[in-house]
């Protein structure tokens, strides 16, 4: 990972740190105390004038701040800082931590304000991609609802305070705690991997050993950690390598979303599934609700979550007992434990075939279990992976020395102590336990109730949320994009997070707060991170002053965003029988018990799942995410209880019926969404909704189901009763807005085949040009006039449906890049969503276990564009390079173009959607893209601003534009690189190559519109043994050959 000079980087240079620019390392000391006066900014946002004042104030105080650019002042720069071109965007490498998982990012900054978040291509876990959360964090940064002041509450009195007042209070309060060795002090943190926080924690525990330190995440992956402890008797980090996997079995795990290395997995999985590869991978998924992995699976078996461990045990029994796979050393006792699963009633018929496939791919297979699975299911997977020689190949284990209680136990424990009055001071760093702690904890006290018994509670948080409101002190937290921080990647390597902007509202980081409490004088985050880096890289004590060697390493670290070679060492799988035996025995006995539970209409299964948009609720105030259609239900601004069609029919409920869920003595009322493919008798509910103190966007959206959660049955379980409430609720979906009639459903089934073309691998090998033949037969397409010829560039796009996992990252990328407005639930319900890029989702085959097809659809830039011909004012015209260009200024808004667009990719501003944005929110806008007014049509332009920028740069540098230099936002962030853009006139370009592939087809080409975007047909790789046995194609879908 070589450091590189920003000026020579064609992409404009990754980052510049403060020192590099200003050469004034001492400046960073001013970071924390720089804006005490920002605290009084009104809740409804920072005005632009105020923002600029703050910016110039920072300059006046200390010269150049952070890695942000100096603002233009009325007096021009007499000496422009070296390398700084006003108006030119620059990119900085940083990281973002969500629930203890780091994402490597590259943030684009425009004159000192970050405007776009993308993945860092050199980061080992992101590979240039970014998920929806990371991308939407830019909107969170500028959210005017973010907490802006220190708030002290005593009784019903709420006072606006400042950090000085808190510091005075804290000094005195913690000085009182110190003599008692921290008796009564508890610290609750959200999952964090930050080494600087870890160091401060050690110091805290050293000084006050009675302090209790807890970590909690509502969406916790701790069961895997527990599984590693069960198998290897100490916690391990597990990292998967899907690139070499030929047979993959997923037990209720989403490898492609929500997984710590999801982006990396997605890239590798897409590679392994290339149909032209020597051996295409095969994916099996056992899951209750759909995951991206299930959507991608060649064989998906809808299985209630509580029965998935039994399936894992059956598969293990098949492998070890029937197919004579040797058990790893020290685990011989497992054989007799597995015996009951040889003929278990819930044993799937496909077990033997899957086992044979796994054996045939020995060393190149992979089994993984998800967070909802009990630890023994994880342990069983490790056992099978080890026996199949996968460990070290597809599964990498790394020691994770950190010892801490598991999240769900930590919360139960803490609340118990709080309710007993054993906690007098509670310090909460981040998180929102008053909202997302399970409502049903042992002892019957909820977190919110227990919090009332804590004398002093201090909450550091980005928002003044439910928890903040119940605490005696609320402290504003610095956003990840405005603060220094350090963290660890999933493989244990060190990563950097550097600020892109001064804290807008005077927030501080958790490390800074701990330092404020523990150190004299308190250090800035920058200082803390440098010290932690120094110590992590083998140094001791303080950062040496004026050490050029250290500075060089530090610069390189920031430049790359992470530290190569700092990953935790890999360890082999060593099963320790004395410890593992009893645990596994207990686990398998549990599985036996579970297997006896009969699910039926009076005993349903409840499964909690993190939302793909709001996660655990922390993104509830993020309008991009609220309005992002769910990858499968296409639901926006709501959560629902997901039921399979047969289950819904048996219970007599339909789409939008509000039902009462009763589980473990608690109840909640949710609308029903009938989702094909949901396992029978299993009901999935999504976390993250029903917030009451999220902000203007997120309050009152959906239903809070945390009250249903049980401290010990963390992810749900059987015993759910569902009754109708008799009420109905409007769900706003972006697809299938209304219940479809039989006629429409039949027609849709007819059309899916030609629209989303796919075939099985065997068919593809036999007829590589199957995609062309799946399209409708039509007479030769002739033109009435001389066709236009593009002499220069001829832009085009190829979208590989075989790689697309439907993760929505491209949709958010497009929204962020192109200043696409958010319209709200009511407007979505009316069919007025604005996203330029949408993911069409179709089901094929049996409603109980359909195959899902995803298809990203944006403007396909027809050469013979129907929209252009009908616009009366010539507001949509063709460019020389073949783009179908929209001239916003000229648009009158007849909407005729949209009517005539066969792809329906045009979006209309029915209202002035940008009207009520505050000045702060407007800072998130991309200055290179026009903000559209009311009454104007808009649509995808292949990111024409990026095209122009690259062309101008190439021209300035007097060179020919290279292939791949222009990357539209969607293609840039696609984790699987399914979207490729380029010049079709260049036969050597990637896009030309892809469009020439035999799998390539053009959707609706029979209309003679000549789309520039081509799709590459999807190829599935079903197990030949199962294809006939399971009757996959029952229901006779639309494929015709």
């Amino acid at each position: 990972m070589a450091a590189r000079e920003a000026s020579t980087d064609p992409r404009g240079g990754y980052w510049r740190s403060l020192e590099e620019l200003a050469g004034r390392p001492e400046f960073s000391r001013h970071l924390a105390a720089e804006f005490p006066d920002a605290a009084d900014v009104r809740q409804d946002g920072l005005s632009r004038r105020r923002f600029l004042q703050l910016m110039s104030a920072s300059l006046a105080l200390a010269g150049l701040a952070g890695c942000r650019w100096p603002e233009e002042k009325i007096v021009p720069f007499a000496h422009r800082p070296e390398g700084y071109v006003p108006g030119e965007t620059r990119q900085f490498a940083t990281s973002l931590e969500i629930a203890g998982v780091a994402a490597g990012l590259l943030v684009t900054s425009y004159d000192g304000r970050p405007i776009k978040v993308e993945g860092n291509p050199e980061h080992p876990c992101s590979l240039g991609a970014a998920d929806v959360f990371a991308q939407a964090s830019i909107l969170e940064l500028y959210d005017p609802d973010r907490s802006q002041t220190v708030v002290q509450r005593s009784g019903h009195q709420v006072l606006n305070q400042d950090w000085e007042a808190f510091a005075v209070f804290a000094k005195q309060h913690f000085a009182e705690l110190e003599p008692q060795k921290g008796q009564g002090l508890a610290v609750l943190v959200e999952a964090t991997t930050s080494p600087s926080v870890a160091r401060l924690r050690e110091e805290l525990l050293a000084r006050m050993p009675q302090t209790r330190w807890y970590e909690y995440e509502a969406v916790s992956t701790d069961s895997e950690r527990e599984g590693t402890v069960m198998a290897f008797s100490e916690p391990h980090r597990v990292r998967l390598d899907l690139s070499g996997a030929r047979a993959i079995v997923a037990f209720d795990v989403d490898l492609l979303r929500g997984h710590p290395t999801a982006l990396h997995n997605a890239r590798q999985l897409a590679r392994s599934r290339h149909p032209d590869a020597e051996q295409m991978s095969r994916l099996y998924a056992f899951e209750s609700g759909y995951s991206l992995t299930g959507v991608m699976a060649d064989h998906r078996f809808p299985t209630p979550t509580c029965q998935v461990p039994i399936v894992a045990a059956c598969l293990a029994a098949e492998l070890f007992l029937n197919q004579d796979l040797a058990l790893p050393p020290n685990t011989g006792y497992v054989a007799h434990l597995l015996r009951p699963f040889l003929d278990h009633p819930l044993r799937p018929a496909a077990t033997a075939a899957v086992a044979r496939d796994l054996l045939a791919s020995r060393g190149a297979s992979l089994l993984a279990a998800g967070p909802t699975q009990p630890p023994f299911a994880h342990a069983l997977c490790f056992l099978m992976n080890a026996a199949l020689e996968n460990v070290g190949r597809t599964v990498h284990l790394r020691a994770d020395p950190e010892l801490r209680p598991y999240h769900h136990r930590a919360m139960g424990n803490l609340v118990y102590r709080m309710s007993r009055g054993q906690v007098t001071t509670l310090l909460i760093l981040g998180g929102n336990p008053a909202y997302d702690a399970p409502g049903n904890l042992p002892g019957g006290v909820s977190f919110a109730e227990a919090l009332g018994k804590v004398g002093t509670s201090i909450h550091l948080s980005l928002y003044r949320n439910e928890t903040s409101r119940a605490c005696t002190w609320h402290l504003p937290r610095a956003h990840a994009l405005e603060a220094w921080s350090d963290l660890r990647n999933p493989d244990g390597s060190l990563a950097a997070a550097q600020p892109l902007i001064e804290p807008l509202y005077g927030g501080r980081t958790p490390a800074e707060l701990l330092s404020l409490l523990l150190e004299q004088p308190a250090r800035t985050a920058h200082d803390l991170v440098r010290r932690a880096f120094h110590q992590e890289t083998g140094g001791r004590g303080e950062v040496p002053a004026d050490d050029p060697d250290f500075e060089a390493r530090w610069q390189a670290f920031l430049r790359a965003g992470w530290l190569a070679g700092s990953a935790a060492p890999e360890v082999p799988a060593r099963f320790r029988s004395p410890l593992v035996g009893p645990n596994l025995t207990k686990g398998l006995q549990e599985a036996q018990e579970l297997g006896r539970v009969r699910l039926d209409r009076n005993n349903l299964e409840l499964v909690f799942a993190p939302d793909g948009k709001l996660f655990d609720g922390r993104f509830a105030n993020n309008a991009w995410l609220q309005e992002l259609p769910d990858f499968l239900t296409k639901l926006t601004w709501d959560n629902a209880a997901l039921l399979g069609p047969a289950t819904a029919a048996a219970l007599g409920v339909g789409q939008g019926d509000v039902v009462r869920l009763q589980w473990e003595g608690r109840q909640a009322e949710l609308p029903v969404y009938v989702l094909p493919g949901q396992a029978a008798w299993s009901v999935t509910v999504l976390l993250g909704y029903g917030r009451t103190a999220a902000g203007r966007v997120g309050d009152g959206v959906g239903v809070d189901v945390n009250g249903l959660r049980h401290g010990l049955k963390f992810w749900g379980g059987p015993g759910l009763r569902l009754t109708r409430s008799g009420r109905r609720h409007n769900l706003a979906c972006t697809q299938d807005h209304h219940a479809i009639d039989t006629l429409g459903a039949d027609e849709r089934r007819q059309r899916i085949g030609p629209l989303v073309r796919e075939a099985d691998l065997a068919e593809y090998r036999e007829h590589p040009d199957f995609a062309v033949h799946l399209g409708p037969h039509h007479p030769p397409l002739v033109s009435l006039w001389q066709e236009r010829r593009s002499e220069g560039h001829r832009w085009g796009m190829a979208i590989d449906l075989n790689s697309c996992i439907g993760c929505n990252a491209c949709v958010v990328a497009c929204q962020a890049e192109n200043n696409i407005p958010v319209v709200g639930k009511k407007q979505v319900g009316k069919g007025r969503e604005m996203q330029w890029l949408r993911l069409d989702r179709y089901f094929r085959g049996e409603p109980e276990n359909p195959r899902v097809a995803h298809q990203p659809v944006a403007c396909v830039q027809c050469e013979n564009a129907p929209c252009e011909q009908v616009c009366p004012v010539a507001a949509t015209v063709h460019s020389e390079e073949g783009l179908n260009v929209m001239v916003y200024n000229r648009c009158v808004g007849t909407r005729y173009c949209s009517n005539n667009c066969p792809y329906k990719v045009r979006r209309f501003n029915f209202f002035n959607y940008q009207k009520h944005l505050t000045e702060t929110q407007k800072m998130a806008y991309n200055p290179e893209v026009t903000v559209r007014s009311r009454g104007v049509m808009e649509k995808c332009t292949y990111c024409v601003q990026r095209i122009q920028k690259a062309k101008i740069r190439a021209k300035n540098e007097r060179r020919i534009l290279g292939d791949g230099e222009i990357v539209p936002a969607c293609a840039q962030t696609c984790p699987t690189q399914a979207i490729v853009f380029g010049d079709l006139n260049d036969p050597a370009s990637r896009v030309a190559g892809l469009q020439a592939e035999q799998r390539a087809y053009r959707m609706l080409a029979e209309l003679n519109v000549k789309p520039r975007t081509a799709y590459l047909a999807r190829v599935r790789n079903p197990n030949p043994e199962l294809a006939t046995a399971a009757g996959e194609d029952a229901g006779g879908d639309a494929d015709h050959h």
Binding site: I740, G831, S898, N899, N900, R934
Partner: protein
């Protein structure tokens, strides 16, 4: 003074031995003038007029309030969405333009075809045309997203030298409807000049004399005036005739030239024109039946007139029905699955209710007119007229909305629901229409007096069985033959 012996006769009975009397009740030239001018001259109109005017002008106010709300807020106040980018606004536009067809058809085409019975109803129908086109014209103007730049649809010279896109049917609409409006207005006005002069001459107040005198353009009923007038009228009729066919053909191109299944079809121009005449006649009838009753015009607008109109409604309604069948046939015969689906979807999909309202009202209901008893019964015809109006509105709704709501990609399918604003705007357009109409019948001669007189027996020259007045192409040699000048005492002054 020539007059014919008055007997109560049923002029709907076709007697080939003599021309069908077109004016009954023993009216002579004087009584016709008295009757028709009297309506516009009464010091105060009947109370019913006030009530009707109050309701209509209230609805007009609603219309303007809705338009103001729309323009201040955005097109989103309507139910339109993506994929259904055109909703009630375009439906209403096509509906009103269609209604506007009857007037010009009656005045121009029937004039050229020498259908004498047109004289009693043409003024009425032309007025209706003008008002319907005014109502129609509002919708395309306000349905755009940015009404403040709607003038960009016109080929106005500008410094950027940006011209409209001449390939767009919306632009053709601008020309077609604009021309139609202008020609219809001129035709209506030109035909009214002699009658305006009558009102001027009968005026009892200075103000009325000035206003009517201004619009009468100094008409003195001289031979030269008549000569020029007849020529101009003929020319305008010639000009208006192709417009009757062109305007709705062009409106249909809005749909036909697109590539949307259910829109992209060559049958649209004739089908739209037939439908327009159909709906236009129904609307004339809807207005005429009560008007002739309330204003005592049964002798001038006789059952015979109404029956003729009903025959046209029966004919055009059947044409429309035939077009519906042809559309289905072509959807099947073309072998285009998208097209076929669109039509199954119309008949059986989520909008089937609208489709079957349309078929019932437009195809089934007019069939009652095969029965002479029913087509000469004013109560029955009134019901049928209203139903045909409803049916024709639904036809436009079915065409516009069903095709858009389900086009090529099932992922984009959506259901369109109008809002309250849509409904009130439509109701308001009726308000505007009736307000204008009530003003018309209050202040202007609602029957073309001069023309009616030409078809009265009194206009027939002794010894000849041919009424004069219908002399286009063979202008009488002597002015003595001109009935109007002879028999109208109020015109005598003009000879001086």
């Amino acid at each position: 003074m020539s007059s014919v012996a008055v007997v109560e006769i049923d002029n709907t009975i076709d007697d080939p031995t003599r021309p069908t009397p077109l004016v009954l009740g023993g009216n002579d030239f004087t009584s016709v003038t008295e009757k028709i001018s009297g309506i516009a001259e009464k010091p105060r109109p009947p109370r019913a007029w006030y009530v009707a005017f109050g309701v209509a002008s209230f609805l007009t106010a609603v219309l303007f309030a809705m338009l103001a709300y729309l323009i201040l807020t955005g097109v989103g106040v309507w139910g339109v969405n993506i994929p259904v980018g055109w909703g009630w606004a375009i439906v209403n536009f096509v509906f009103w333009v269609g209604i506007g067809h009857a007037g010009t058809l009656i005045s121009a085409i029937l004039f050229l075809l020498r259908q004498k019975w047109r004289t009693s109803i043409n003024r009425f129908a032309e007025a209706m045309t003008i008002f319907a086109v005014i109502c129609a014209g509002i919708f395309p103007a306000v349905h755009v997203g940015r009404i403040w730049v709607v003038h960009w649809l016109f080929p106005l010279p500008n410094y950027q030298t940006v011209w409209p896109n001449f390939r767009s049917p919306l632009l053709w609409d601008v020309f077609a409807v604009g021309t139609y409006m202008l020609v219809s207005l001129m035709f209506w006005y030109t035909g009214m000049i002699p009658d305006l002069a009558t009102l001027r001459d009968r005026a009892t107040s200075r103000l009325r004399a000035i206003i009517y005198g201004f619009f009468a353009l100094g008409w003195r009923a001289s031979h030269r005036h008549w000569h020029r007038y007849e020529k101009a009228y003929l020319l305008l009729a010639g000009l208006a005739t192709p417009l009757v066919l062109s305007v709705h053909s062009v409106v249909s191109f809005d749909f036909a030239t697109s590539q949307l299944p259910g829109w992209h079809t060559t049958i649209f121009p004739p089908y739209f024109v037939a439908g327009a005449i159909f709906s236009g006649f129904a609307m004339v009838g809807t207005l005429l039946v009560p008007a002739r009753r309330w204003f005592g015009l049964k002798d001038i607008v006789t059952l015979y007139h109404l029956e003729n109109m009903n025959k046209i409604i029966l004919a055009t309604g059947s044409m429309v029905g035939y077009a519906y069948v042809t559309e289905f046939f072509m959807a099947w015969y073309s072998g285009n699955p998208d097209e076929a689906f669109t039509f199954y979807n119309r008949a059986l999909g989520p909008y089937a209710w609208a489709y079957w309202i349309m078929v019932t009202c437009n195809v089934v209901v007019p069939q009652f007119f095969w029965s002479k008893k029913l087509r000469t019964n004013t109560a029955v015809m009134m019901i049928i007229y209203v139903l045909v109006n409803v049916g024709m509105w639904f036809e436009r709704f079915v065409i516009t909305v069903t095709s858009l709501s389900r086009d090529f990609l099932p992922s984009s399918w959506d259901y369109y629901k109008p809002t309250l604003v849509d409904g009130l705007t439509f109701a308001g357009s009726f308000g505007l229409f009736f307000t204008l109409f009530l003003l018309f019948i209050r202040y202007l001669p609602m029957v073309a007096m001069a023309e009616v007189k030409t078809v009265m027996p009194a206009a027939v020259i002794e010894g000849e069985h041919r009424p004069v007045g219908d002399y286009h192409g063979d202008i009488p040699q002597t002015h003595d033959l001109h009935p109007v000048m002879h028999d109208h005492p109020e015109h005598r002054g003009d000879h001086l």
